[in-house]
Amino acid sequence: LNFNGGTVSGILGYAGYLLLQSGNVAIAVCFLLLTVVYFVIAVSTLCRYIINYYRSKHLLHY
């Protein structure tokens, strides 16, 4: 999660071990969805970086 104050990073996911013991499917599914959200944020940021990198690659080295 990239904030103005820094990255709060590459992800806790001990949660899987605890979920096995919890006996609560609803919470397990919610946790899975949250993990997917984290993954999508990381992948979308990486996609945008790669596209912008190749659009302006010639400017990056100094």
Partner: protein
Amino acid sequence: MFSYSISGTTAPRATNFGLRNFFVPARREKASFDFRDAKVCAIVPTYKPGKLTEKLVEDLVRWTPNVRVYVVDDSTPRECEESVRVLARLAFISERVTMLRTPVNKLKAGALNYALEHIWRECHSYAPDVVLTLDDDIVVLPMTVENLVTELMTGDDLGAVCSQCHVLNKNANLLTRLQGLEYLGFNATRLADDGFFRGPLVMHGMLTAFRASALHEAGGFAEGHLIEDYEVTARLKAAGWSVKSALNSHAWTVVPESFSKLWKQRTRWSYGGITVVDKIRHLPSVLQDLIGHGVFWATVCMIDLLILSIVFKGSVTVPRYIPGLIIMLSLLQLVVWYGFQLWLMRLYKEKDVYDWLIRVSLFPEFIYSNMLTFVLIGSYFFLFFNTLTSRISKRSSLALRWLSALGGDLFRACGYTKSWGTRN
């Protein structure tokens, strides 16, 4: 805020962004522009200036002949003899250097506005196209300003463009090396955010070029704000301007070398960021922070629910593939993130073997990132505390006022205050 008029491009019409924008950043057409035709004003607010300030002003004058430099002495005490001598020498560097002194210490935003008032007042004789704001302790290259201004003026929808950030004192200790690696990540994040819902979150105060008409229209900087650079960026984006970073404009700054100074800087950034999000009306201007806060709180809630579900154990067996998927996705994200961090090192020109060791070993950055998590959690508590205490008046009970004062002292001891500003 400013009573003077300035001509220039008006804010572009609203652009439509969609879900596709999360993965594919918008592309912008470049207009033609000749830097030699640009009228540029550079504002350097300073408090107790040193040799770096002198070098910065000399470099600006030497390398950019069409730039007028405004040095704003933010009431440096006369007892600081070395700084007073530096200020005296600055006045004689060039005719293009104008020395200003605030009547009282106004902190950075106030000093910037003081210079802007002066610039707008004189715009009948010299109306700038671009206003640069610079910290007084940065180092620039000969092409830094030209590339920055060219990037701004070739994008008709751009209201501000910031430089790439590098760390000047990164070899001082482990903490500065970690910040050097972190700033490398900041530059990467800003590149990823170019063309994403009007651009990166913050046009940093270290070195940013503002379109003069956009800054004038926005009314300058918010005085008394914790982080005036984030605040003005959000207002520019709300007015319809886009922002971005210039990949070929590089500047170096001095970062905190002690943990206490770093902690204080980050509490200011973190709590300041929360206050911007709290007060902004145009939410897409702070979209990245909104996503971050939303997912962070979802994580906190899920961890709480997980703990409760362990305490009050359910009777159903959780299918093994669900925790398996969670663990697999988490590890996959670590692999992708780690690979990207290693690849990013090729863009880090100042790296040495110690930087590689820090990056490859993962552990120092793991600790550093978790420190920032604590800073963020503290900021939430401080916001909650301030929301509660804002309702306490002189008519409230003595015990309530005593508790409020005690809480304020406790937060202050932890580095959280709401009344500071950036002091140069």
